[in-house]
């Protein structure tokens, strides 16, 4: 992929907290990252690490009143999204910044045809489009995601389509207004293996054709290996390691990242037993000071429990938050 050095989005110290009856959950606690034009970034972590809330925060779709973005900056094309009014944000959402979610079944409204739903997305951002042009644009969107016989499927309803097709339709809706950035939150988790392969190939092709930048939110390092240029590993609301994909596969520095990769059964190599991570993912309420991974870390020392590790620079693109990194 040709990567332009131009910075598309620059997130600085993002903090999103959730206020629950039991206390404050620091779902996203000081997350910083960037994405250049045409690049693909992966955000990896297990459930509860905050990756999905990060994605929602970028679009300012954090559920209120429970959740709230309490700090940081999101510089998108030079403008801070967190300072924008709701009206301005709505103009950007869908048109310049878009998202695909995990479950195509609930992403699509079962009461409306897919043509209707794609049309709605287009009409929201292109006010003066005639009916005829609208239909043409809808067909174009369907063709873009390689849905065969697009013209005849305008009136189809979501339940009449397979999972893979539905996910393509959500892709069509997300890309209908040619956004510069597409966030995909576990887009293939509910798909079969061969359908997943088709879908990822489609996304790669689309990136080549439209130059859209991608952020993948996933728990699967396989997707990272297949699709991403750079990757961040998240744990308990913070980024613990970020690097170029190759670097993280060859030389993971953070014990969590290393353990996570060792957990995965591999097809090529037969492992006698998989590396496991002791214990459970932490409750995000009242986290103790120090490194949040320390209680489960095989290399933890006294300092790890006392102070949160500063960012160490391994090389230009490779950063780790670990006292041993």
């Amino acid at each position: 992929m040709t990567v332009n050095n131009e910075m598309l989005i620059n997130v600085k110290d993002l903090r999103t907290y959730l206020y629950t009856r039991r206390g404050v959950v620091k779902a996203v606690d000081g997350v910083s990252f960037y994405l250049r034009k045409g690049e693909t970034l992966g955000i990896v972590g297990e459930s509860g690490c905050g990756k999905s809330i990060t994605a929602l925060s970028l679009l300012r779709l954090v559920p209120e009143p429970a959740g709230r973005i309490v700090g940081g900056q999101i510089l998108f094309k030079g403008r801070d999204l967190l300072q924008m009014s709701h009206k301005e944000m709505r103009r950007i959402r869908g048109a310049e910044l878009s998202m695909i979610l995990q479950d195509p079944l609930t992403s699509l409204n079962p009461a409306y045809s897919i043509g209707n739903q794609i049309g709605e997305a287009i009409r929201l951002h292109q006010k003066n489009v005639t009916k005829k042009t609208l239909v043409e644009k809808i067909i174009e969107a369907l063709k873009m995601v390689r849905i065969p016989a697009a013209e005849s499927r305008l009136g189809d309803y979501p339940h009449q389509m397979s999972g893979g097709m539905r996910q393509r339709v959500t892709g069509a809706i997300a890309l209908s207004c040619q956004p510069s950035l597409l966030i995909a939150d576990e887009p293939t988790t509910s798909l079969d293996v061969t359908i997943q392969a088709q879908y990822l190939r489609l996304l790669k092709d689309l990136q080549r054709e439209t130059g859209v930048s991608l952020i993948f939110i996933t728990h699967d390092f396989g997707i990272v290996a297949a699709m991403c240029d750079r990757v961040q590993v998240m744990y308990a609301g913070k980024i613990v390691e970020s690097a170029k994909t190759r670097d993280i596969f060859d030389r993971p520095r953070h014990p969590y990242a290393r353990a996570l990769m060792g957990c995965l059964p591999k097809i090529e190599k037969r492992l006698e037993s998989l590396t496991t991570i002791e214990g459970q993912p932490p409750q995000l309420i009242d986290l103790p000071g120090g490194c949040s991974f320390a209680p489960r870390c095989p290399e933890a020392e006294q300092v790890c429990f006392e102070k949160y590790p500063e960012e160490a620079k391994v090389n230009e693109e490779h950063r780790v938050n670990c006292w041993h990194g």
């Binding site: 907290y17 959730l18 206020y19 009856r21 404050v24 209120e64 429970a66 973005i69 309490v70 700090g71």
Partner: protein, 295 residues
């Protein structure tokens, strides 16, 4: 964007109340209900006079704080000189008894039918549900009037009639819940392990349907009391001289403008009773619904 957690908490609480979730405060309705229950239990001790005792010389006296009233009859007397307060207190007995009995009987019947219908499905379900639909499609009051006209008005008959009207509503709701529980894998696993149908229904289905039963019970008592009061109002309820709130309101029909207190107080009693039950039922449902339990 304020990073100060205290300020954010205040903002959050404000937003919460704007959603007007009264469900957070069950203490008020619970207290009101307790008062009603205690009054019903200790009616003879609490009421100053017998509810049927007529003091013709003191008839149509207004409540104590109005000009012309006296502290002997705190809430005034009706057209036969009977103390309104005493009748109100004894009337609560009727409402409470009818309410509780009906709920227990109709609830049990409805639960059993709902569970069997939902669990077995097939033609049992179809048969039972058609029967339920038929019963539900007849307007309650009309049905009650016809049945009372056929069988005569008595305590027992009123309870029977309301039970017949109520159990289909239970059965329907419970059946829906059972269908949901049945989908859970632990039911299939119990089946695979070789558990008998009875065991599955008792051990697995029933405990998980319990919240619905409880919530329905709380919400339906109000409906029963209103139905009983309506029947009494129409003259086909609890026969005189038993004081039922509905009867009291009915009797005062012609006197609403001149002797307003005779109809007002029983009306208020019905209002507070049913309102408390409804609020409590809503709170209970919110509390027992795991999805709503935490954000």
């Amino acid at each position: 964007m304020n990073p100060d957690p205290k300020e954010n908490r205040a903002w959050f609480t404000k937003k919460l109340f704007r959603g007007w979730r009264l469900a957070v405060v069950p203490h008020v309705p619970a207290t009101i209900l307790c008062i009603f229950i205690l009054v019903a239990l200790f009616a003879p001790q609490l009421s100053p006079y017998s509810p049927t005792e007529a003091h013709f010389l003191d008839k149509l006296m207004p409540p104590a704080w109005v000009e012309g009233g006296s502290s002997e009859y705190i809430l005034g007397t009706d057209f036969m000189g009977r103390d309104v307060l005493s009748r109100l207190i004894h009337g609560s007995r009727v409402s409470m008894t009818v309410g509780m009995l009906v709920i227990v009987v109709a609830g049990s019947l409805g639960t059993v039918i709902g569970v069997i219908s939902g669990y077995f499905g097939g033609w049992i379900d179809i048969l039972l549900m058609r029967f339920t639909d038929i019963t539900l499609s007849i307007p309650a009051i009309l049905m009650a009037i016809i049945l009372v006209a056929l069988f005569g008005a008595s305590y027992f008959n009123i309870i029977l009639v309301i039970v017949l009207l109520l159990w289909p509503r239970y059965a329907r709701q419970i059946r829906g819940d059972v269908l949901n529980v049945k989908e859970q894998e632990f039911v299939a696993l119990a089946d695979v392990a070789g558990c008998s149908h009875i065991r599955i229904m008792w051990q697995h289905i029933l405990p998980n349907v319990l919240p619905t039963i409880l919530v329905l019970a709380t919400l339906q008592v109000g409906w029963v009391i209103i139905l009983e009061s309506s029947l009494s109002f129409l003259g086909v309820g609890i026969p005189p001289p038993q004081p039922a709130w509905g009867v009291m309101v009915a009797e005062a029909r012609g006197l609403v403008s001149s002797a307003w207190w005779i109809a007002l107080f029983p009306g208020l009693a019905i209002l507070f009773n049913v309102l408390s039950l409804n609020i409590l039922g809503d709170w209970l449902r919110d509390r027992l619904d795991p999805k709503l339990r935490s954000i």
